[in-house]
């Protein structure tokens, strides 16, 4: 894995909001995640790209705490997340550090809970002593939902509105890191553009860091500062998004970039190159 040796990226954990070091995870004989390391500065945006089975989603799940790593460390704001949670307060504090937005809000939102109630539930769990009404209005406003949406059930909303609700719920606990796992993949382009612009606004207003898991390279280029390219569980290339996309070094990164449909696109040649790699 390419290392950024001069900057000594893992020396000063406090400088980065998220530090991931030497993650490994195997499922049976499959090495799903193989020595993956990266860092995310406050307010930064890091893309993880790679094909299905490259380990990007497993990496994200380890960062969030939905999956356990065999080896390696995850630090958020300088605190380790590797050890098991001790007690309710500790687990809740850890959940507040990293939040996740999934691909399909219909599956990640409770179909019987209205928008306002879903937000209230999260707020009550994490901040039992605060005034929630004000914060709920603030959150809805932040994600561009009107008060009319507050009473709606997920199925009464459009796909884009539902994803706004999922983002609002993730933002409710004021996380340091937001993990977006293919969060705009299911939306059609005009709605996707609205959500991507919304995410850019939120990043400007807060110092939240994004970990963007996607296989859409156009999206990565649009919303991330840095990118890592994963293949077979390992990082094959890492660097600033603009640099990696302008001058890819690894043949797999080149293949990925060439695979994006565009005028003069030759899928046949890509298919041949893919099998050769």
């Amino acid at each position: 894995m390419p290392e950024n040796d001069e900057k000594s990226p893992y020396g000063d954990n406090a400088e980065h909001v998220l530090v991931v070091k030497g993650l490994r995870r195997t499922f049976g004989a499959v090495r799903a995640v193989d020595d993956v390391s990266f860092t995310l500065p406050p307010g930064g945006s890091l893309g993880i790209v790679g094909e299905s089975g490259s380990g990007k989603t497993t990496t994200a799940r380890i960062v969030v705490g939905l999956e356990r790593a065999d080896e390696g460390e995850v630090h958020v704001r300088g605190r380790s997340r590797t050890a098991r949670g001790r007690g309710r307060a500790h687990r809740l504090a850890r959940a507040r550090e990293v939040q996740m937005v999934f691909q399909d809000p219909l599956l990640s939102l409770d179909p019987r809970t209205g928008v306002e109630a879903a937000l209230r539930e999260t707020l009550r769990l994490h901040f039992p002593d605060r005034d929630h009404g004000l914060r709920i209005r603030e959150l809805l406003d932040q994600v561009g939902l009107g008060t009319r949406a507050a009473d709606a059930l997920p199925r009464q909303l459009s796909g884009g509105q539902r994803q706004r609700v999922a983002i609002a719920r993730a933002l409710a606990v004021e996380p340091a890191v937001l993990v977006l796992d293919e969060a705009v993949a299911a939306l059609d382009v005009s709605v996707q553009a609205q959500i991507l612009n919304l995410l850019a606004d939120i990043r400007e207003q807060t110092s939240i860091g994004y970990l963007f898991i996607t296989h859409d390279l156009g999206v990565v280029r649009c919303v991330t500062d840095d990118v890592i390219v994963m293949r077979h569980g390992a990082v094959v290339e890492a660097g600033p998004t603009a640099e990696v996309f302008a001058g890819p070094r690894h043949p797999y990164t080149r293949l990925l970039l060439e695979s994006v449909p565009r005028p003069g696109w030759d899928p046949e040649r890509i298919a041949v190159a893919r099998r050769a790699l």
Binding site: E51, G159, S259, P261, W265
Partner: protein, 286 residues
């Protein structure tokens, strides 16, 4: 190439469009599918028109072997013997880059990209003249997508199959199709040769879609999103369906549905917009 709201009308029920008030025939290979009875419709689905769905995991029975899935339809309709069907299945599996060993496997034992290729092979079992593909590569990553698209192109050449490809990926549509129809709220907003539609859009909706696509070539940063949402299709639409979200809309747009008119000098390129000519100018100015 449209919002989910209008896709089902044409595509999901693609082999049988049950729209009340549809008076005109829908001809597939000369047969009016709206007039066919159940048996003949079934024969049409077996041998004339076949469909590839977006999610192979949802479309293929996980409890049956891939071989059974491939041969089931042709065997059931009695168009061929089991033995001939299996031979044909092996031939098609090889055409899509798999081999006979896949026949004995269950869907859960192969990857999503491989299973999508199985679905393509299954669609070709009855030698269809028309292949309907509804977002067949949306669930796949870009390299697998390129492979599946290359395969569809090759099969089109080899078997002479027509391809109707439904997608919301504009660049993909531009790359693989000869003609493009852009739909909005159940209506065709624009149609024409793929390169003309994408290079010189004549409908503001097409232009907006193109502007809101995150692309490798465009500058980074904010996208030109279209505000608002598609209209509620349960309500009666007067005027242009896109008027409420359109920057060019004037009073006539709310009052009168625009007819589909060809572009000057390009009879093949049609758009249903009162202000197509203004759009052409602003695009050039910008």
């Amino acid at each position: 190439m449209n919002t989910p709201s209008d896709r089902p009308v044409l595509e999901i029920r693609g082999l049988r469009i049950d729209l009340p008030g549809t008076a005109r025939p829908v001809l597939v290979d000369g047969h009016d599918v709206l007039a066919l009875d159940a048996d003949r419709l079934r024969a049409l689905r077996t041998g004339t028109a076949a469909m590839i769905f977006q999610d192979p995991r949802a479309a293929i029975n996980p409890l049956r072997r891939i071989g059974d899935f491939l041969t089931e339809s042709v065997c059931l309709t009695g168009t061929t013997t089991v033995k001939a069907a299996r031979a044909r299945a092996v031939e098609l599996l090889e055409a899509v880059g798999l081999d006979a060993s896949a026949l004995a496997k269950y869907p859960g034992q192969v990857s999503g990209g491989m299973l999508q290729r199985v679905m393509i092979a299954a669609a070709l079992m009855g030698d269809p003249v028309l292949l309907l593909a509804d977002e067949p590569t949306t669930a796949l990553d870009v390299t697998t997508q390129a492979e599946v698209i290359a395969l569809l192109g090759k099969l089109r050449e080899r078997f002479g199959t027509g391809l109707l490809f439904v997608t919301h990926d504009l660049d993909l549509a531009a790359a693989i199709s000869d003609r493009v129809y852009v739909m909005y709220a159940g209506r065709i907003a624009e149609s024409g040769p793929a390169d003309e539609v994408f290079e010189r859009p004549r409908h503001p909706y097409t232009a907006a879609l193109l502007a809101s696509t995150p692309r490798m070539e465009n500058p980074r940063g904010r996208l030109a999103a279209v505000d608002g949402q598609p209209p509620d299709l349960r309500a009666e639409l007067t005027g242009c369906a896109f008027a409420a979200r359109c920057a060019l809309a004037t009073e006539i747009c709310d009052r009168q549905a625009p007819p589909s008119l060809p572009a000057p000098g390009r009879p093949d390129h049609k758009a249903a917009c009162h202000h197509s000519d203004r759009l052409g100018r602003t695009a050039v100015d910008a």
